[in-house]
């Protein structure tokens, strides 16, 4: 097989990896905020449920969670899922897993806010949602950015776990090509891809962190 053909196939896998990456971030970041509210809820039942969910997501391998999401509908409910469900299962698995991690990051950020900010807002008449979105959240974002960056970089590498439910992302394609061509080139290309992807992510996050430096 010609090198261009190998690269073309790899590019297909690359695109799937990037899709998983983007979908995970777009949905798990807001979902994580919602989960963190549940984790800090005044209602002890909600709090306990959310706490359990977070501990399961963080305490079991993501690969296992992906399998449960993928095989669960059939094994548990007898629902036949088509081949097209693979990628969806990956999306769902990644989103609910990362939402749990982000929720804990949000929570630590929100709880680190000095009570004086809430009191000042209250005196000025801000409603609770206004206080959160105008005063607390913008400051929380700045505080948690380094932890979020760590998670995002981990996510780039984690996308390869979708391989476990046979999603043809970068890693799966590279592995298949490597064995059919008995060549290391696909692996080298895959490694290069993850490395460059992370480099771009790091530069992007650094840029955002710089933009957040408008105040100390």
């Amino acid at each position: 097989m010609a090198l261009t053909k190998i690269l073309l196939q790899l590019a297909g896998g690359m695109w799937v990896s990037i899709q998983i990456f983007i979908v995970t971030l777009v949905f798990s970041l807001p979902l994580g905020l919602l989960v963190s509210f549940g984790r800090m809820s005044k209602n002890p039942v909600i709090r306990a449920i959310v706490k359990f969910y977070i501990s399961v997501m963080r305490g079991t391998p993501l690969m296992l969670q992906l399998m449960v999401v993928y095989f669960g509908p059939y094994y548990l409910l007898g629902i036949k899922v088509g081949n097209g469900y693979r990628l969806w299962a990956a999306f769902i698995g990644f989103v609910i897993n990362y939402a749990a991690y982000f929720a804990e990051i949000y929570r630590s950020g929100i709880q680190s806010m000095p009570v004086g900010q809430y009191e000042a807002a209250k005196l000025l008449g801000y409603t609770k949602p206004q206080t959160f979105f105008r005063i607390i959240f913008p400051q929380v974002v700045k505080r948690i950015l380094p932890s979020v960056t760590n998670e995002v970089i981990t996510l780039v590498k984690d996308t390869s776990l979708a391989f476990s439910i046979s999603v043809l992302e970068m890693f799966a394609v590279a592995k298949a090509l490597a064995s059919s061509q008995t060549s290391l080139i696909p692996f080298v290309a895959a490694g290069l891809f993850y490395y460059v992807f992370n480099l771009i992510v790091a530069v992007g996050m650094e840029y955002i962190e710089k933009r957040m430096n408008y105040y100390q």
Partner: protein, 253 residues
Amino acid sequence: MYLLEMNHVKKAFDGQGVLRDISLSVKEGEIVSIIGPSGSGKSTLLRCATMLEEMDGGELNYLGEKAAWNGPDGKAIYAKGEKRKEIQKNYGLVFQNFHLFPHMTVLKNITDAPIHVQKRDKEEVYSEAMELLKKMGLEDKAEAYPCQLSGGQCQRVAIARALALNPRILFFDEPTSALDPELTGEVLKVIKSLADMHITMVIVTHEMAFAKDISDRIIFMADGVIVEEGTPEEVFSSSNERTQSFLGRYGEG
């Protein structure tokens, strides 16, 4: 009618009585200073007056409107919802540590609440805010962030922020205690200028000379009770032993 009325206010933390039956009334235009040793409950009193802290028992009225009253079991009941919001519009509080919003410019710190809470016209709010900044001597700092200001400048911004909502009464909790001595003067000068505008103020302070100079009335608190109150002359020439020993420690300021 009194602007602020607090009757038989009681507040305890962990069974420890911090406010023990305090009554205090303030008329429109009056300037009242509260002095007293550390731990006597001055901050707690202001926090109860501004509903940051809920008192255990007692009454709180603004312009005759009931913010809190005693229920049948002697525990304070608070006004809720719209009523409470209406009452809260009457007052502002300036904190010892400013509590400015660090992610907003000076101008935004001042204008954000009038625009988004009071829903007032933007242009009008901005021009009023610039007026306020001019009064505070900070017109060149409108676009600065709080972290770029000195403590004295921050406190003046905090005062402007409170004033921008046009409260009828302004509470100050040791507005100069977090400042270096050389910055204290500029803040006191601003507060003095508010006095000249006849803004009603209740000021907790350790600046005795300032309290004596600015106040219509001085309240001396110790151990959760009002030991003595009166005009500055009366309090500063008091024969009460506790008042004397407290004032003695501060000299005459």
